[in-house]
Symmetry: C2
Subunit: 377 residues, 2 copies
């Protein structure tokens, strides 16, 4: 029997009201994942475990799927909804029964207050255009999209694209995140970069955080997002060192110099970028993962082994089944920014990577630019 | 024929006087390397190439050698001086004809104004005692000694030991320095940590810097020196991850968390320690080298593979031919400091490494302490 209202402490009343609000499904945040590739499916799995567990999220996680017809003749969304598995991009992993695949973008985002973007970056502009006027005005977005373009006038950040086109705030989540390893619940970390509102950041952390996926938030959208792109240039440098069999010492030095140039480049482009961001998972840890494994490193290793005699295009075609290397195009875009702004001498590693990947310099040049290095003292 | 003195510009006179002083051997800095193991011999080689090239150093580099009789019956110093090779600790590498091996410590340091200490750390106390009153009062020291002891009351820094016992200033040089790779002139880096005087630091940089060995100086003796010790604890953690076959993602996360604890621990012990030091070669690069190769990582990997069922002592004896792992003893010493000061909860990685290496926890605990991690937000 409920105690008389008069007998309750004011805090208890407030607490009960809050519980009622939280338990009322209409007040819970609805989450939509836009994208359903390898990383998108893993993100949906992480999120779905938390929306079931935490009261302030709507249980159901809607996942927009670019519809495909499978060799069996079935639709991909039908199979995902029947089996709880993305049989094409993350086979063998249960996403959670509360993940609902939806081929209709507009329907997928309806009433959602939390939008998780995780598609290849070249699709982002088109997707944003289709979403204009279709989303809640108070929605919050987060971008997991790596590899935005660096253009002459500076990098075109995906978080800015989302904010500008949709008129909503956008955070980012990056880090040392090899999707297949997280899918099997191996210990990992990620970094959320947020702009102003700590409460929003904390909500994103709660949506992704699990005991095997540790998420930390930092107030530095651009720093976190630039880490995700620039690391691929450093991965090429690390691959050259591997191909030349220079040893761990040299590789560690090149990775460190790469991290240093990532930090310097980001800070020159955005004065808000913080040094401490580069100690986070998106910085040093992602550099390590990407330079130990990763396809940029792998193809660059092969390039160096062949002494630069076989082009990146040729090796990509042979080794990556039609996928393109992000590192090579990012290195070119960074080089354009550097030469346009007169910064080439400040970034000997970045510029040397581009000059090697275009055949202007031999792979061994990666460790021969030391005389160009600015002396700190 | 020399031009008349009157005809010279005052700057030219000053310049010529300076040249005379520099060319006068008695005004040049004499350098002594104290130690002749693997790293000491490589240091002597680096230094010897620079003393020949730069006028402000005396050409001759004296290297104190703990005398040994070789199987051939010859003295080690005689063979080094005859062949220019340290046949025992760095065979196949020419040190430079200007390196003179000297078995007499007192004679080796006579008139030296630059003392380079590079011996196993357990010998340092005895060597310092023997040097009291035997060195120039204005001598400068640099320590390349890694693995000083962390005691209950804090770490016993080798640079402090030298300064206190000998009454001279002491800098340090650390970094991702695998001696055998530097010996064959593979590209590498190092960090000089200095206390106050930038000119002294610059002189040490000039003494070591070569096109393949890039040296950067930072004003942070303790930060640089603690990196050199604490990295071995992180290497054990990385080895456990390798033994458990957790993948690159997890390994990168553990390396990053280790770097973060190194930084936090160093800053709690010495308020002067700078964040930026951990971006230098002694920080992130040395963590990478040590966690990719290195004997601490290797034995820890074996320990995890055996599920902790064979002790570190046993594995060390089997794998390291009588050498002891620095990481295990450093982890214990760090643990003592942490428990003594009530900091255990702030350093879950450091404390878990110790608890694993003593058998209190299974190796898999290295990725199971995540719930203990302090949330940053």
């Amino acid at each position: 029997m409920a105690p008389a209202l008069e007998a309750q402490e004011p805090e208890t009343v407030a607490h009960n009201n809050l519980l009622n609000i939280l338990n009322d499904a209409s007040h819970r945040s609805k989450v939509t994942v836009i994208g359903s590739g390898n990383w998108g499916s893993v993100a949906a799995k992480l999120i779905a475990s938390n929306t079931l567990r935490l009261n302030f999220f709507h249980d159901e996680v809607r996942m927009w799927v670019y519809e495909e017809t499978l060799p069996s003749g079935e639709k991909l969304t039908d199979v995902i909804n029947r089996t709880n598995e993305n049989v094409k991009y993350l086979p063998g992993i249960k996403l959670g029964k509360n993940v609902v695949a939806d081929p209709d973008l507009e329907n997928a985002v309806k009433d959602s207050s939390m939008l998780v973007f995780v598609t290849p970056h070249q699709f982002m502009e088109g997707i944003c255009k289709r979403l204009v006027g279709k989303i809640r005005a108070d929605a919050e977005a987060i971008s997991l999209v790596k590899g935005m373009e660096v253009k002459m006038e500076g990098p075109c950040m995906i978080s800015s694209l989302i904010s500008e086109q949709l008129g909503i705030n956008c955070s980012v989540l990056m880090g040392a995140n090899i999707a297949n390893e997280i899918a099997v619940e191996k210990f990992s970390e990620a970094t959320v970069g947020y702009r102003h509102n700590r409460e929003v950041a904390e909500r994103w952390v709660q949506l992704f955080y699990t005991p095997y996926f540790i998420v930390t938030a930092v107030q530095d959208v651009e720093g976190v997002e630039l880490c995700g792109t620039l690391k691929n240039v450093v991965a090429l440098a690390a691959g050259f060192v591997d191909g030349l069999q220079m040893g761990n010492n040299t590789k560690a030095a090149i990775m460190r110099l790469g991290l240093r140039e990532m930090k310097a480049f980001s800070k020159l482009l955005f004065t808000s970028v913080k040094d401490s961001t580069f100690f986070e998972s998106c910085g040093v840890a992602d550099i390590i993962t990407t330079c130990l494994g990763g396809r940029n490193r792998k193809v660059a290793e092969a390039y160096a082994k062949f002494g630069g005699k076989r082009s990146f295009d040729e090796l990509e075609a042979e080794m990556l089944q039609g996928q393109k290397l992000q590192g090579v195009s990012t290195a070119r875009e960074v080089y354009e920014v550097l030469s346009h702004r007169g910064w080439l001498e400040l970034f000997p590693l970045f510029s040397t990577v581009h000059e090697i990947s275009t055949g202007l310099l031999p792979p061994s040049a990666i460790v021969e630019y030391s005389e160009k290095l600015p002396r700190s003292l």
